[in-house]
């Protein structure tokens, strides 16, 4: 099918509406309220209507069935239940499939369609679901909605009336007031309030002490009701709009022209408040403020609710409207929509500028021209800012990625018959757009694993003294150039002994291989490793975790697993804030340059040979009472050390050491030269280098030479892994060396 522009808009809007529908269904499950249900209904109704315009009858017919059920829910004919939400979720997914299939003329799986219609019909009360004639039905439906609202039987005004003290003296007869009320409506209920009438001794018989609470069914406007009593001085009158009309008021509030209105004016404009009431409240507000009352208790909205002039829901809606007006004004002023490909081009150009800027700097260094150098310094500073700002443009909050998991957790926990709640922290944490796009799938797998393997069944949880409902927490935060995403569950945790045993059985490790706790936990990231006793459709096939690891490593990220048996597991994913341009530290090894991400350079020190100790060909120093493994990068990269020593360490009078730190682990890396800070535009390595570990990419220096960018987390992991056994023994010996050989 050739897709015209309007149909494309329908497809895009349909996706948004379905997302709203899903979000609201999730809310509805825990908190059944009228407005949420209306949002869901409106989404289905709009999709049906728009599909009708394009002659997509199969979408209209299916959505109509969904809409019928939603309508019955709105009319309290069908109670909200978890089962019903599940069917509605599936129906929403099916509509998504139908919409996605428009382009290829695909009308969805017929079996699934029939199954869903049957399930929906089973929930529907009364008559069987009849498929509509698409176009006419859409129009008829909208008018039905309007009729429904106006003819609802339980709708009435609530009038709270306390007559003024001079009512009788002024010649007003309350009975006649009631007669006037019955002219504009029907008095459904009326309760006399005579509590203010004094005993005979205190009574002023000519004064009026009468009051009533009246339920009036009427189509009249609030103003018309107020007019009946407007000439009776001193009368206290509060007219609350009919309950079902609150939605109409809400609608009116939404429909108001985008203008910044004070709350009172807003309510006056839609007719919820009369001018007299508003004046009364404003006077009261001023008096109270003058009397020194706490201003936070004297907000117009609060006073209106306290005085029963307006219902709380209406105030909330009006406040939302005010916020919306402010937000949209703010957004309209501050935001411009830009195609993300334009941003990518901008970043690339900034990258080129950075490279050429470095080159210019280098050339200028060879010409001792003061003015030129000053100009370059100015350009460099501006370029720094430009780089920071342009990279910032690509940063988006991780919240929307996190929010997807509400549905995932709901569906999977229900499949697994577990009770799990999701807690989200740090949803505002910003991350590069590309990283956000690529992290979704690995996170999905990790969350599924926590649900499947981590959280226990309710019975098991109760047995071990935990609450029936498990918790999965998704948390994001910034940490020195990296973003940390944690998936924390309070499930059964990992058992290192079982993991080790499985790994031996599967040939991932040998029986005599010694691993520390974290290394054992990391085994679950190895290919073909799964400990699930029963393979489920959620996870347990052992093909996922190594893919997760690879995906995260492709983003220059890292996974750390920590767990406590019986208490839960924390999976920490560390990702670089940006993939494009970094502040780097340039070092020289032989004739080559290498770049360390500056955020991970903890410190640089110069060592004399006497400060370096060696145990079984492994070098270390004691730095401020901390044992630090040292690796000579030249040897690590398999280059000639040139001095015949096994490690090449300690052969020079002065040795340059860079201490790098990542995830609380530090390693000292010996290099030939420390060349200083550079801005590095990271370019990906070619496919031929895909198996080369320890490098995140390469960059072009100002000199035009290529420098490799070191992947510090991976490097630390490898170094610490191989050094582990020696490192542990050195730690114990460090007590002996402390004091006379440690560095300060």
């Amino acid at each position: 099918m050739e897709i015209d522009e309007n149909l494309q808009i329908f497809i895009a809007e349909g996706e948004e509406l379905l997302q709203d529908m899903e979000d609201s269904l999730l809310v509805l499950e825990n908190n059944s309220d009228e407005e949420t249900l209306n949002t869901i209904f409106r989404a289905a109704h709009t999709i049906k209507g728009s599909a009708g315009l394009f002659g997509l009858d199969y979408i209209v017919e299916f959505t109509h069935v969904v809409e019928n059920v939603l309508d019955d829910m709105r009319n309290c004919l069908i109670p909200t239940s978890s089962e019903l939400i599940t069917v509605l979720m599936r129906s929403k997914d099916f509509i998504a499939v139908l919409i996605a299939g428009i382009e290829n003329d695909e009308e969805g799986d017929k079996v699934e369609r029939e199954e869903l219609i049957q399930l929906l019909t089973a929930f529907k009360t009364g008559t069987a679901v009849s498929a509509p004639t698409p176009m006419t039905e859409v129009v008829a439906d909208e008018s039905d909605d309007a009729d429904d609202e106006d003819s609802a039987q339980s709708d009435h005004y609530h009038i709270s009336l306390r007559l003024g003290v001079d009512t009788f003296r002024m010649g007003f007869n309350p009975v006649k007031l009631f007669a006037q009320l019955t002219e504009i409506g029907e008095i459904l209920e009326c309760a006399f309030i005579g509590d203010s009438i004094p005993e005979l001794a205190e009574l002023d018989a000519e004064s009026c002490y009468l009051g009533w609470e009246i339920a009036l069914k009427s189509n009249a406007k609030k103003e018309q009701i107020a007019e009946i009593f407007e000439f009776i001085d001193g009368t206290e009158l509060h007219v609350l709009p009919p309950k079902s009309h609150i939605s109409a008021y809400r609608h009116l509030i939404e429909q108001l022209p985008e203008d910044e209105l004070a709350l009172g004016q807003l309510l006056l404009q839609i007719g919820t408040l009369t001018e007299q009431e508003l004046q009364e409240i404003l006077n009261l507000q001023q008096e109270n403020l003058k009397a020194g009352k706490d201003p936070s208790t004297q907000l117009t909205g609060k006073l209106l609710v306290e005085k029963n002039m307006v219902q709380e829901e209406v105030i909330e809606e009006a406040l939302k409207k005010q916020d919306k007006v402010r937000d949209s004004k703010q957004k309209a002023l501050n935001f411009v929509k830009v195609d993300s490909s334009k941003l990518d081009r901008l970043i690339n150009l900034v990258g080129e500028l950075v490279i050429n800027g470095a080159k210019l700097d280098q050339v200028a260094g060879t010409i001792a021209h003061e003015e030129l150098n000053e100009t370059i310094e100015g350009i460099t500073m501006a370029l720094d800012d430009l780089r920071e700002i342009s990279l910032g443009l690509r940063m988006v909050p991780i919240g929307s990625t996190f929010n997807r998991f509400h549905r995932v957790i709901r569906d999977i926990s229900s499949d697994l018959q577990k009770q799990v709640k999701l807690e989200i922290y740090g949803a505002d944490t910003e991350l590069d757009k590309t990283v956000i796009e690529k992290i979704g799938d690995p996170l999905m797998h990790l969350v599924r694993n926590s649900l499947d393997h981590g959280i226990e069944s309710p019975a098991e949880r109760v047995r071990v003294g935990k609450p029936e409902e498990g918790t999965i927490t998704l948390q994001a935060k910034h940490q020195a150039g990296y973003i940390t995403i944690q998936i924390i569950d309070d499930g059964k945790g990992l058992d290192p002994d079982i993991l080790r045993q499985k790994a031996i059985e599967k040939g991932v490790i040998t029986e005599d291989q010694k691993l520390n706790k974290n290394e054992i936990f990391n085994l679950i990231l190895a290919a073909g490793f799964s400990t699930a006793e029963q393979v489920s459709n959620i996870s347990g096939r052992g093909v996922g975790m190594d893919v997760v690891r690879r995906n995260i490593e492709a983003l220059r990220g890292n996974i750390i697993i920590d767990s406590e048996t019986g208490k839960g597991t924390t999976i920490t994913v560390q990702l670089p804030l940006t993939l494009a341009i970094i502040d780097g530290f340039n070092v020289g090894i032989d004739e080559e340059s290498y770049i360390f991400p500056l955020d991970m350079v903890h410190e640089c020190i110069t060592l004399t040979p006497s400060q370096i100790q060696e145990v079984s060909h492994h070098s270390y120093i004691t730095l401020r009472e901390e044992v630090l493994p040292i690796v000579h990068l030249k040897e690590y990269f398999g280059m000639e050390t040139g001095d015949g020593s096994p490690s090449g360490i300690g052969s020079k009078e002065r040795n340059n050491l860079i201490v790098v730190k990542f995830a609380n682990q530090k390693v000292g890396l010996m290099v030939d030269e420390l060349l200083g800070e550079v801005q590095a535009v990271i370019k990906p390595m070619g496919r031929v280098f895909k198996d080369l570990n320890g490098f995140a990419g390469f960059t072009i220096l100002g000199s035009g030479l290529v420098a490799l960018v070191l992947d510090v987390p991976n490097l630390i992991k490898q170094v610490v892994g191989s050094e582990h056994q020696h490192f542990e023994s050195i730690k114990q010996k460090s007590v002996r060396v402390k004091g006379n050989q440690s560095l300060h």
Binding site: V175, F192, G194, E199, L203, A205, E206, L210
Partner: protein
């Protein structure tokens, strides 16, 4: 104690004098009995006075008796949605014809 006879216009124009009459005639030592046989006119201020009489009597552990209540009184009580207050009052269940 003999019933207090109220007669003629029992509207806002005479309400103060009616109030005074009741206050003078009844000190709260016995049930308050009002004979309404000769009442020709009434308005809500009269109903308000009757409610005050009833509350005062009850506070003095006495009762209010409305004798020979005209039909108009029942209508007025209903029109003011105050029938709950007077439903237990003797004399109101079978209103006597006006002037009886």
């Amino acid at each position: 104690m003999k019933p207090i006879k109220l007669s003629g216009d029992c509207s806002i124009y005479e309400i103060s004098s009616l109030h005074e009459k009741v206050m003078k005639a009844w000190k709260g030592e016995s049930p308050l009995a009002l004979d309404l046989a000769k009442v020709t006119e009434m308005d809500p201020s009269f109903i308000q006075l009757l409610i005050s009489c009833k509350q005062t009597a009850e506070n003095k552990e006495q009762s209010l008796e409305l004798l020979n209540a005209p039909e108009e009184l029942t209508h007025m009580i209903d029109a003011m949605f105050t029938s709950d207050i007077f439903s237990a009052e003797p004399g109101l269940e079978d209103p006597a014809p006006t002037g009886a």
